[in-house]
Assembly symmetry: none
């Protein structure tokens, strides 16, 4: 089967928005061994949209377009489809979709603006696709031998509608798939990760393996095609090899996040955690709470951006701050101990650092971060700190610090050897109990 | 001038790589008032590439393609161009580029693989474009009235070649630019925002205005073309009109974030803020700290995920929680008062809610969030709460809650009328002091 994907929107052709919908759809279709013939991006231009649809319908078995179904005057997709499908005929209202739309506004306790009405209108010959997550239903039609599907631009709405209503209608064979398996790691340098894999990265190897780094997360992508069982087995074999070579830095596979992996370990060991953050300002606790079910092990945290709050909330002694500075291993450890005691948890992570752009010095440049970990175990109360100098801007330093804290806790929960260092960590360590 | 951009590569049509080249080129060309007619992504397929080039050359004044100029068997761009330009004729070698290529390998002390030779060959009628950063020269040609440019895929090589060799050859007038101005708002429904703008959204208006919504932020994009001074003035005029029509929901322009806008108001009014978060888990404080310089007004925050911490850290009375539930206007107000008192700030925001996926009930469905604001002003200590039911998944509920809290503080700092409601807010309000 040959498919084309169309992304519609002025913001996409002037370079002001990333085009994630086409990428997601291409990924989804490739997973079912569909060949993507073209991806076309057009602006909010009725004639250009109509022309693109007509042209692609001649070449492909299916065309999937996203965007331009909103309620405002620059949303022209339905009118362009009408130009192709039933030129000159008026749009029709879908009564069922109109009822759904009215109910949606009622449920939210809102008055429905008149302008939303256009969203439940369709060209003659097209039918509507229900949208559970938004006000814009999709459209389905046929042009010659080609099936056309139009979905709204917001990714969450588009994705659910594609999976629920479009995929089935494509009648794709179940016995040929293109599968992708992912392995995620944090704290291992990319070049070292490549060397550890060696010939596994050869371009003609089956399954094929590639490495990418995004937001400091290292990912191995394994791609296999064929019968589902065979492809799956090939991916699992290669995945096992990569996990072993990248241990202990590998924290998860496919969709799993570092915080979810740590959460799973906390649940398994019946432990709980609290946080104390300075420069990350809540980023670490946000990552932990991103995981559904985190209330089972996360009690809470402190964002102690001012020194006064470090002392009043977490009992960090003022002398400790005066003597070593707020950004120091000693303060990181004291913050962790304070959070552990105040929250009554088994573990506590603390982060203090200089995220920039200002505040750096020769001794402690921008990017300097100390991460403290306090633990209550059979061995009693212990605490330790690691010293990092993260590269990048304010946002990158804080992101990497929050992730390094999670990996540090993960290593502790797994009893990883104490000499395993993390990327960007300075050794000898700031201070270890 | 009308342009099309073509991105060539199998990895781009299977969804495994973001297409950043097209976005960069679109941005570059738009800034010089070139209209982007289409962006097309095709795989490594000789016939599809040739067909795409021929088709776009008929519609546009210029076509810029990237990718497929490498030395391996899946690099087919030059052959596709030959099919269009001089079918049946052999490729020719460019002697000057061959010398450059040999020198490049000599300088690196490497033997030149035979396979690289193809990179300095071109179809009859085409000329080559020098690449300072890699082994792949580009190609330039004419097809009818259309100018064609082919550049290699690696962004660093492509960008330098475009700026050094392509832009000049387009003979674009220096006195005509394409400028973009953005206006950002939060809390106004998209349809209502469209209605407030009315004919400003007309497709043939100058400057042209479009509306997009991304992560609950509503953005008006204003595009003007012409002499730099004129375009700038037009954008400022339209921006003023939109700001007025969307008041008080507009918080900023161009790159400004909601948290930066609130930070600016706090600095101007010499006020400080603290946070107390339950379901958002630090997201609000993270947004505040994302703004460089936030230590001037942000003291810190509490992530009180457990009820015990709500009481022990923020002095929320256990009876209040028992009587009204942890997710209630009363608890939101008490959390805000507690944070204000403990942090010693002028303002304090508190968020308590049900982000899901579990924990909802008929009375308080998933998405129910109460946001409290405590303030110390000339009028004394006041507190109030707003009641929201946010649609979407866990992540969207939390994102919208954090942004609604910032907008609520912004309204207070600006003395916005008390009856201005926010999108997804339930009225009558939970409880207002």
């Amino acid at each position: 089967m040959r498919a084309a994907i169309v992304s519609i929107g002025d913001e996409l052709v002037v370079g002001h928005a990333p085009e994630s919908n086409a990428r997601w759809l291409a990924d989804r279709l490739s997973a079912r061994a569909v060949t993507i013939e073209r991806i076309v991006v057009v602006g909010d231009d009725r004639a250009a949209i109509a022309e693109t649809i007509a042209d692609l319908a001649r070449r492909c078995d299916v065309v999937i377009a996203t965007g331009g179904l909103g309620p405002t005057a620059d949303d022209l997709t339905r009118f362009a489809l009408a130009d192709v499908l039933a030129p000159g005929e008026a749009l029709r209202t879908d009564d069922e979709q109109l009822r759904r739309l009215r109910r949606r506004f009622q449920r939210l306790g809102l008055e429905m603006p008149e302008s939303n009405l256009v969203q439940v209108r369709h060209p003659a010959g097209a039918t509507m696709i229900t949208n559970r997550h938004g006000t814009a239903p999709g459209l389905a039609a046929r042009l010659g031998a080609c099936r056309l599907f139009f979905l709204p631009g917001p990714p969450r709405e588009m994705r659910a509608m594609f999976d629920d209503h479009v995929l089935d209608r494509l009648d794709l064979p179940d016995d040929v798939v293109g599968l992708t398996g992912l392995v995620h790691a944090f704290g291992l340098p990319e070049a070292a990760a490549g060397e550890r894999l060696g010939p596994i990265l050869d371009r003609d190897r089956q399954p094929r393996v590639g490495i990418t780094v995004s937001e400091a997360i290292l990912t191995a992508r394994i791609q296999a095609e064929g019968a589902p069982e065979v492809a799956r087995r090939k991916i699992e074999e290669t995945r096992g090899v990569i996990r072993a070579r990248w241990a202990p830095y590998v924290y998860g596979t496919d969709g799993e996040t570092l915080a979810e992996s740590v959460g799973r370990l906390l649940v398994e060991s019946c432990r709980s955690v609290a946080t104390a953050e300075s420069c990350t300002g809540g980023w670490l606790s946000k990552l932990i709470v991103d995981a559904a079910g985190s209330s089972a092990y996360f009690h809470g945290g402190w964002v102690v951006y001012s020194n006064a709050l470090k002392s009043s909330c977490l009992a960090v002694r003022e002398e400790t701050i005066r003597e070593h500075g707020a950004v120091s291993a000693e303060v990181a450890r004291a913050m962790a101990r304070g959070a552990l005691a105040r929250a009554g948890t088994d573990d506590a992570l603390a982060i203090t650092g200089i995220a920039g752009p200002d505040g750096g010095s020769d001794e402690k440049p921008v990017g300097t971060v100390f991460i403290g970990l306090a633990r209550l175990t059979a061995a009693g109360l212990t605490d330790a700190a690691r010293h990092f100098v993260f590269p990048g801007d304010r946002s990158m330093v804080r992101d990497r610090a929050a992730k390094a804290a999670l990996q540090m806790l993960r290593f502790a929960l797994l009893d990883a050897p104490a000499d395993v260092t993390l990327l960007w960590e300075r050794t000898p360590r700031g201070l270890t109990a």
